[in-house]
């Protein structure tokens, strides 16, 4: 499912319509967070394991809290970025009167 989210997110990010861009940002951000969930080994029926040499022995069925902290932070940060992108796109729509990224070429003059 995460892979699907990534694919959808990237696909939408590459669009020129603002709405799809925003949707892409949101999906891509969520996909990243879910990815952290997976690599952190957090599956509901599986006890978390910690590889590496720190020697800690996890209790049975204990989930590793650290990637959860990462995900929380990342969710908050991506929320901030999403909010910013949405407002930015709204302002661009107001000033440039277009919904089309390809039309925003004012910065490309030599």
């Amino acid at each position: 499912m995460t892979g699907f989210l990534f694919a959808a997110g990237v696909y939408l990010l590459l669009h020129k319509s603002f709405m799809k861009l925003i949707a892409g940002v949101i999906l891509f951000g969520n996909a990243c967070n879910l990815f952290l969930l997976i690599t952190g080994g957090l599956v509901d029926s599986h006890p978390a394991f910690v590889s590496g040499n720190d020697g800690a022995v996890p209790l049975d069925n204990m989930a590793d809290p650290v990637p959860q902290a990462f995900i929380l932070t990342a969710i908050v940060i991506s929320l901030g970025v999403q909010a910013f992108v949405i407002v930015l796109l709204k302002r661009i729509y107001q000033t440039s009167h277009t919904n089309n990224l390809d039309a925003l070429t004012d910065t490309d003059d030599v």
Binding site: L36, I38, A74, I77, V81, F84, I92, T107
Partner: protein, 483 residues
Amino acid sequence: MLFYKRVNIQRAVVLISTVIALISGVKLVKVLAREEFLTMQVGGWEAPFGITLFVDRFAGLMIAMTALLAVSASLFSFSDSVMPTRKKQIGFYPAFMFMLAGISGAFLTGDLFNLYVWFEVMLISSFVLITLGSKKDQLQGGIKYVIINFIASSFLLLAIGILYGTTGNTNLAALAESLRDPALQTVTQLAAVLLLASFGIKAALFPFYFWLPASYHTSPIAVMAIVAGLLTKVGVYTMIRTFTLLFPLQQYHYLQVFILIISSLTMLMGVFGAIAQRDIRKVLAYNLISKIGFIVYGLAVYTPAAVAGAIFYTLHHMLVKTNLFFVVGIIGKARGSYRVKDINGLYDHFPRLSFLFFVLALTLVGIPPFSGFWGKFMLVDAGLSVYDYRSVALLLIVSLLTLYSMMRIWGKCFLTKFDTRLEQLVTERVFMKEYYQVYIASVFLFLVTLWISFSPSWLIEYTQRAAEQVLTPSGYINAVMQR
């Protein structure tokens, strides 16, 4: 932010705090001349569980340089010519301070996830800075900048996920240790590539640099100056840190070759872009990209001499680029435009400015005896010592082309006669009196550049010791893990 509309108080706070930061930064550099590392565990949690704050000589130098640029940028922005008061009122200084906090944090941290957090702080503040004022092209440049950098941060996050999932820690020192294990290396190489992509986007390497010329020149010149000097350098710093500590390029030879190729292409593409531009801000933006290529080339060669050259060049470039942007800001104010065809006769009217520009342009290109020469010499010397003749030849050709791009500006803007059809603007004396802050800022940085140029030996030696530190990760690991 407490004094939201009262710019004067904001100015005072910013100036005082950046000066304090500068004093601390210089002290840090001095202390690190004696000691090897400085570490601190946040909250008293032991490494590798807690977050380590870690400074080695390279980080110390970067922090000091950041503070220096911060002081001069705040001086520069005091003048209303380059940053109208209304813009200052809507939150320039808070965003500026946040960005500096993020940058310093990124230099100080010893934990990869903490790095992500500081990157985001820095990034979001830079979003605000670049789009401050909401003019049409700012917003357009802004959206390109935002989306691409958001993707870069996401790559960093993904890399963190992979690294944590396979090794169980994000502390850089502990990661470095865990990554020595050859069993993990097949998976973690994915993380290495993701990190390369992420930091490469941030640092504006080929083929990731296209956001930079699209967005940097749209922001107010004071913002552009500070952002150009700092943000890409954070990308470069983290790249050097990653590929010496976590994925040392000796082990990952294919990465080394790849980075070598990318950096060479960056050098070349950057300067080609610079030659083509007719807006002097964009010329400087493309030259910035080209110089980033030089610095990463130093990383790719991976000898102590090369990395020392890269560090030296980074510092010199931060100084000179920001200063050039200051000068360009003055030009823009003096002539009302940044396009080459609109600007003429600057040598006649603004002799002191012309002097500043000329010397800075020479420094950027690398003409002796200025600091660019020392940096370039170190890089060329290192390249030759590994018999990499192609890249060194490329480096020298690119320098020549850089010279051409700067001299184009010099010839077209400075040496031409003033077009008397245009309205006669003020003489330099009057201009200087009214906009003295920008001159002070520029001259301040200029003096530092001159100092480095004419007595480079302490800095060369310091960067060599910094490079040795950077290239011996065991020192880093021991320093952190034994706390």
